[in-house]
Symmetry: C3
Subunit: 153 residues, 3 copies
């Protein structure tokens, strides 16, 4: 089963690749590495929700947003290299969670992204990861995730 078929079999759909919200591009290849711009949880051109995780929104919602980020990221990769089947590996995920100073459950939120990457890409979806608290994020997004993929040359 190819990657897009697996996405469909999970009942999910790739969104339109998001447009940069400023003067940069959505991803740049250097050798076999594909560096993505920080990805926000857009659905139909709008953020799924706004606010800080653990304050205005729940961990469960933040986790769902992190999963939505993955679909946006894969849409960007597909746009860039033509097919998701050329992904060799998700190398690194850096997940920023907008939250307050007493929030310590960032890993649970970013698991929404990690779990979906594994469901979609299998062993090639297992990545190194950091989860970090941000005092705020662009557009008041609850999460922003940075990705490095290794792709076939």
């Amino acid at each position: 089963m190819n990657i897009e078929a697996r996405i469909s079999s999970l009942g999910l759909t790739l969104p339109q690749a998001p447009k940069p919200v400023a003067s940069y591009v959505t991803c740049v290849a250097a050798g076999n590495l594909l560096f993505l711009s920080g990805v926000l949880p857009f659905r139909d051109g709008k953020l799924t929700r706004v606010g800080r995780v653990g304050c205005e929104i729940t961990i469960e919602d933040g986790k769902e947003d992190a999963a939505m980020v993955v679909l946006n990221a894969l849409a960007i990769v597909k746009d860039a290299i033509g097919s998701l089947d050329k992904i060799r590996r998700c190398v690194k995920v850096t997940g920023f969670v907008s939250c307050g100073e007493d929030f310590y459950r960032h890993p649970e939120v970013i698991n929404g992204a990690s779990d979906l990457l594994f469901q979609i890409l299998g062993e090639n979806g297992r990545h190194a990861r950091a989860a970090v608290g941000a005092v705020s994020l662009p557009l008041n997004s609850p999460v922003e995730i940075d990705f490095i993929f290794e792709v076939a040359s």
Copy 2:
């Protein structure tokens, strides 16, 4: 026109490459990738200004600081590889903006860096980017930017 001539034609000057403020180096090459240390907006050896964007300083000032960071970054690259004309591409920019919990306009601030990279390097200046809110930054700097460049071998 070479890159340094383009910098002059914009009415700008490369500063002295900043010295690390602690026990590390300003950049490390790995293969064709040049990883820079987080760059602050130094001018004549001092931060252009201090404070949080949207609190003590304006977005417009923060944007100017982000542009100053780019000149410092290019000074570091020149020191490291001898000539800015060996830059193949600016691959990734991670812009940390010191701000409060109700600040959501990080992309505008980091545009100060992205726009100048494009003015100086042309298409090779188009990069992947993340913009993130930091509760505070070293020396109370309003911005700190991380760069990865691809350079000729």
Copy 3:
């Protein structure tokens, strides 16, 4: 003297490599680069301490935590590639410090990591670095550090 002997000669011991606290892996190799997951200061399976640097805990303690992170990172690298003697270089260190909005001494804290990397790896331990303030970190850890190593193929 090999690297593990140097660690012993400093009176230090490699801990057990920490297990991921969520659905990802501790490191991923891409070409000669080894990307580690964000590393926390674990000792005997527990965080050395919790809280924000400059608030609940001192800079001196945060610096010690940053050094503990390095030992955990090297334990991860050893697990992944079999021997620390295969490290060519520590390329990049991104140090997140949990702190308040009026804390500006992140570099001093992350020096705890940078200094120890240099003591253990010598010139190969000199890295590019960023130090950034985080509003909070997973498990209320005072520091979290991201590493990229270059390793022999």
